[in-house]
């Protein structure tokens, strides 16, 4: 009986510390800019617009009533790509992407990620850079 109790105590403690270690291996908060933020009202982005938000590293695309946010950080070495006629182009190393962020040329190994966009209760659009979504999925307004 005592042996069981001792065993339970040690085993329980072990389980709890294993869970804690697993969870807290990643900090719960860091001091960078928050990755989920508001980018303004949908009206700020009229249909057909491709607006880059430099400081946020985003390009907001609106087509009709559908809206999406693409990263403008190049997947090659992290340069900020600019909007070009055919899509996006890196000014430094020449990577090229089409309108959807798919690589069409240059050294970039992966397409530009799309981020989750939601409509917050106060009527503003919220982008969460922690959540990548499949390219081509839009938020319908």
């Amino acid at each position: 009986m005592l042996g069981w109790l001792t065993g339970l105590g040690l085993f329980g403690s072990g389980i709890l510390s294993a869970i804690s270690n697993f969870v807290f291996i990643k900090p719960r908060a860091t001091y960078g800019q928050p990755q989920r933020f508001s980018i303004g009202k949908p009206d700020d982005f009229p249909p057909g617009v491709r607006a880059t938000l430099g400081a946020r590293g985003l390009c907001v695309v609106r087509e009709g009533n559908k809206i999406a946010a693409l990263s403008t950080t190049c997947t090659h070495l992290g340069c900020i790509v600019g909007v070009s006629d055919s899509g996006f182009a890196c000014p430094c190393h020449g990577s090229r992407f089409d309108q959807d962020g798919t690589v069409t040329g240059g050294p970039a190994p992966r397409p530009l990620p799309w981020y989750k966009v939601t409509l917050a209760p106060n009527g503003e659009l919220e982008v969460d850079k922690d959540i990548e979504i499949t390219p081509g999925s839009y938020l319908s307004l």
Binding site: L8, L16, S17, L139
Partner: protein, 604 residues
């Protein structure tokens, strides 16, 4: 052994469990879960519902770096619904932050839009509080030692209870609006504006410096006062300075509660830097010390010779002289009565005192104010014109009208303004002193005043008879002890030792040995023993005073002591006329009259 082991491991499990619970089931997590549940119930579309189900409790954080300093605000971790208009009627922490026109919010198509977005401004810019805290106790600053308690809504346990009822409510929030919106008359900062006006009207600017507003040097610099002190402390320091800091020399001003509140709100808004200012604007203020701003606040008055008296009067009443002094019906209750200044002081003295109070009264606490020459002239002219003597029926009436303000109701020198005077008014109840001086000497003090102190020459207002009447009243009402026959003392009329470098050196050696304990190494009356002596030892660097007393009186004070004070008769300790002569030479040598006649009137 096995029992101990079993209990021990069980105990470890228990502790582990408690820590685990504490780390995994935070109050903010429960708040967020409650919010998600309720928001999901309110959701109208599937997309909305889906967006909510994607979210799980996490630390919400706003990093504000637009204002020159980086702030981390985690307030929205608990107040997660503050930007969700559907939660306007909920209880905190799940309540929408109110919208109001006063905060610049605007209504568009029936929906409110914020002027100060949380993502740009954070919460602590306006509310104070500790942005990084995740427990109400720490984030709201209820803990005594956190520097910025939540403004307006929190009254801390440790705060002074007598101020607590006055320190609640959103009125104090104005202080933080005025951090950025410094322009006078900004809508919504009426209390700050009132406080700013009071800061000038009650003379605070004379002593305190606020970068860009005032440049007083007597009191502490208040440029960052709002960052350093809490509301109750500011309130206390204004309402009753000595109750908070026993050594404070700040006078207790006659302020009402709402005036103190306005001053507290104004001071709370002084946090050193205006977040809305650019670096260039800040640099400009630094270069000039804000002189332009000072001059913008206190505009010089152009004095017209024809209206000199009128303008002088207006200046004296407007620029807060009566915040301390008494003048007719106005009484600040802190400094001497100016109602008949023209009768007891001459123009030169008044003018000198205005320009540099310490030149006429070395220990005066009166600040030197910024005025133009013309303004000084007009104010002097007005004071000189105040020659009307009050009607004085007898000795008692005279005492009450002229002496009571300093010497007090009981004659013990504790008059209402006595605490601000240095030297302290004479304690008239001390028979030892009063009876060791001849009547003539006391009448002389009343009629001629004591140079270098606040005791004016009342002889210009009182006849010899009236002065004697006051003295008689003092002697019967306060001194009480019957006067004894004064012993004749052998004193030289003139210092027998000629002034010379050797004599001064000998005098200095004597002084350091015998006198410095009380009068101090600098002879300024602030020696180590002076702390618990009342009355305080004489400041022997008071050139006006030293210049006004003759050798005979110095000899008498040193050789025979001053009865009723701590000054002993040094004749008992072996000093002879020659030693005292050296001492007198030394004292005179450190009080030489500066050239240019600044002190020329001292011995008049």
């Amino acid at each position: 052994m096995r029992i101990a082991l079993a209990i021990g491991t069980f105990f470890i499990l228990l502790i582990h469990g408690i820590v685990f619970y504490d780390q995994f089931f935070h109050r903010w997590e429960r708040n967020q879960i409650a919010y998600f549940d309720q928001a999901r119930a309110m959701a109208k579309t599937d997309a909305e519902r889906a967006a909510l189900s994607d979210r799980s409790p996490r630390i919400e954080q706003i990093v504000v770096s637009n204002f020159g300093e980086t702030r981390v605000d985690r307030c929205t971790t608990c107040h997660i619904a503050s930007d969700d208009p559907r939660f306007a009627t909920y209880a905190q922490p799940l309540r929408t932050h109110p919208y109001s026109i006063a905060m610049g919010d605007a209504q568009k198509d029936g929906k409110w839009e914020r002027r100060h977005k949380f993502s740009e401004f954070g919460c602590t810019v306006c509310h104070d509080g500790q942005g990084r805290g995740l427990e109400p106790k720490y984030s709201h600053g209820e803990d005594e030692y956190w520097p910025d308690p939540l403004l307006g809504h929190t009254t801390q346990e440790s705060w002074r209870k007598d101020y607590a009822p006055k320190l609640k409510g959103g009125e104090y929030l104005e202080a933080n609006c005025a951090q950025c919106h410094t322009d006078p008359g900004f809508a919504g900062t009426a209390t700050v504006e009132k406080g700013r006006k009071l800061f000038f009207a009650t003379n605070c600017y004379g002593c305190h410096r606020i970068e860009g507003l005032s440049d007083g040097t007597i009191g502490p610099d208040l440029t960052e006062v709002g960052k350093k002190w809490k509301l109750d402390y500011l309130w206390g320091r204004i309402a009753d300075p000595r109750a908070i800091l026993a050594t404070s020399i700040m006078p207790k001003f006659n302020l009402k509660d709402d005036e103190i509140k306005a001053l507290v709100v104004f001071l709370k808004s002084r946090k050193g830097r205006n977040f809305a200012e650019t670096e260039i604007q800040r640099y400009k203020v630094k270069l000039t010390g804000g002189a332009e701003l000072v001059q913008a606040t206190i505009k010089p008055v152009e004095i017209k010779p024809a209206e000199m008296l009128k303008q002088g009067e207006k200046l004296i009443l407007d620029r807060a002289c009566t915040a301390c002094h008494k003048l007719g019906a106005r009484d600040g209750g802190i400094a001497p009565d100016l109602s008949f200044e023209g009768a007891i002081k001459d123009e030169q003295w008044i003018s000198d005192h205005f320009r540099n109070p310490k030149s006429t009264m070395p220990d005066s606490i009166m600040p030197t104010f910024r005025f133009t020459d013309d303004e000084f002239k007009a104010m002097t002219a007005y004071l000189v014109s105040l020659k009307a003597a009050p009607a004085l029926a007898n000795g008692e009436a005279t005492y009450k009208a002229l002496c009571l303000r300093c010497h007090g109701e009981k004659g013990d020198g504790n008059g209402p303004i006595a605490i601000h005077l240095d030297p302290f008014p004479r304690d008239l109840t001390k028979a030892g002193f009063m009876n060791s001086k001849s009547d003539q000497r006391l009448v002389d003090s009343i009629r001629n005043g004591v140079a270098g102190t606040s005791m004016p020459a009342w002889g210009k207002l009182l006849t010899d008879e009236q002065a004697k009447g006051v003295l008689a009243y003092i002697q019967t009402a306060y001194t009480k002890e019957p006067r004894r026959e004064l012993k004749a003392r052998q004193l030289p009329e003139k210092n027998p030792i000629a002034m010379s470098a050797e004599s001064v050196a000998r005098g200095e050696a004597q002084f350091v040995n015998r006198c410095a304990g009380c009068h101090g190494k600098k002879a300024d009356g602030k020696g180590p023993n002076s702390l618990d002596i009342q009355p305080k030892p004489r400041n022997l660097r008071n050139a006006r005073f030293v210049g006004s007393v003759d050798d005979r009186r110095l000899f008498e004070s040193i050789l025979y002591g001053v009865q009723g004070t701590a000054m002993p008769p040094w004749i008992d300790y072996g000093l002879n006329n020659n030693d005292v002569g050296d001492l007198v030479n030394f004292i005179r040598s450190i009080n030489q009259k500066p050239k240019g006649g600044q002190n020329a009137v001292a011995t008049k």
